[in-house]
Amino acid sequence: MGKVVVVTSGKGGVGKTTSTAALGAVLAQSGKKVVLIDFDVGLRNLDLVMGAERRVVFDLVNVTQGQAKLAQALIRDKRVESLFLLPASQTRDKDALTEEGVAGVINALRDKFDYVLCDSPAGIERGAQLAMRFADEAVIVTNPEVSSVRDSDRIIGLLDSKTLKAEKGERVTKHVLVTRYDAGRAARGEMLSIDDVLEILSVPLLGIIPESQGVLRASNVGSPVTLNEPTNAAARAYADAAKRLEGEDVPMVTPVEKKGLLNRLLGRRVA
């Protein structure tokens, strides 16, 4: 039986979709069978980040409404054999997804895959709640910034009350993934520190992903950063985070500011 992991945050634009793609790709590369589900109905983007946008035939809503079989809607990644995507629908009908429909899809996928990664929409409403509903674990994507941390706190509240596990008196295993971490700004004290974030949220840390131009390049070409530039700092941080999700004990490295000579003279940061 596979693990269902929701990638969630409350706030938009913090890196949920980027993280779902990057973590899913390394897990699959290490031999796991992985499926990524885009729950952002109406505003799908995971297909673009994965470079599968031209190949979408059916979507999650089609499957839950019986217009397509699950196997027909899954798109196999062209780079990693054991990686699949179930795209979101572009429908404007926010109620197109039902809890029963989602339960059916997740239960079927849980049987066949090692990891079912659910990319949550932003917000704390129905869509975000459906994405987390059947989760065993949660990756709470947080930027070291006040509004993101506050929204993460609200999401933690929902994970502890509105999930199936919570209703059964069990617990969703929670991890905080700090993303878009800017070492320069942290050193200058302009950003919340990792310790601040962890102390406020009191959820264990899965990883620290530095702000990196490589993430933008990867999304430009439609490839998870972990596949597109495996040696990039953000990619390596995602690879470590994936190992920790697997239960491995990998030492945590806090990104430090790297300045090349030229950049130092120009006072610019490099990523």
Binding site: G51, R54, R55, V57, K69, Q72, Q90, V221, N228, T231
Partner: protein, 89 residues
Amino acid sequence: MKLLDFFKRGGSAPVARERLQVLLAYERNNRNQPDLVAVLREEIIAVIAKHVQVNQDDVKITMDRGATTSTLEIDIHIPNAGIKAAAAI
């Protein structure tokens, strides 16, 4: 980063632009009308189902949308028994 990409550094934005143009051209066209490929898919399968019994599980559909043309591949496994059964009708 691949070696080739290294020499084309800064070259990911044109790729992004091209991908978006293809995608948005398609999405804008389909916003207010049924998806042509979806219509084709359904009608083709309906026609085949009239003649042979097809199991939904034996239908594999893949698509690749290009800038000027798209390909729709419908791969249907037709059991020999299915042909006989339909021919007898």
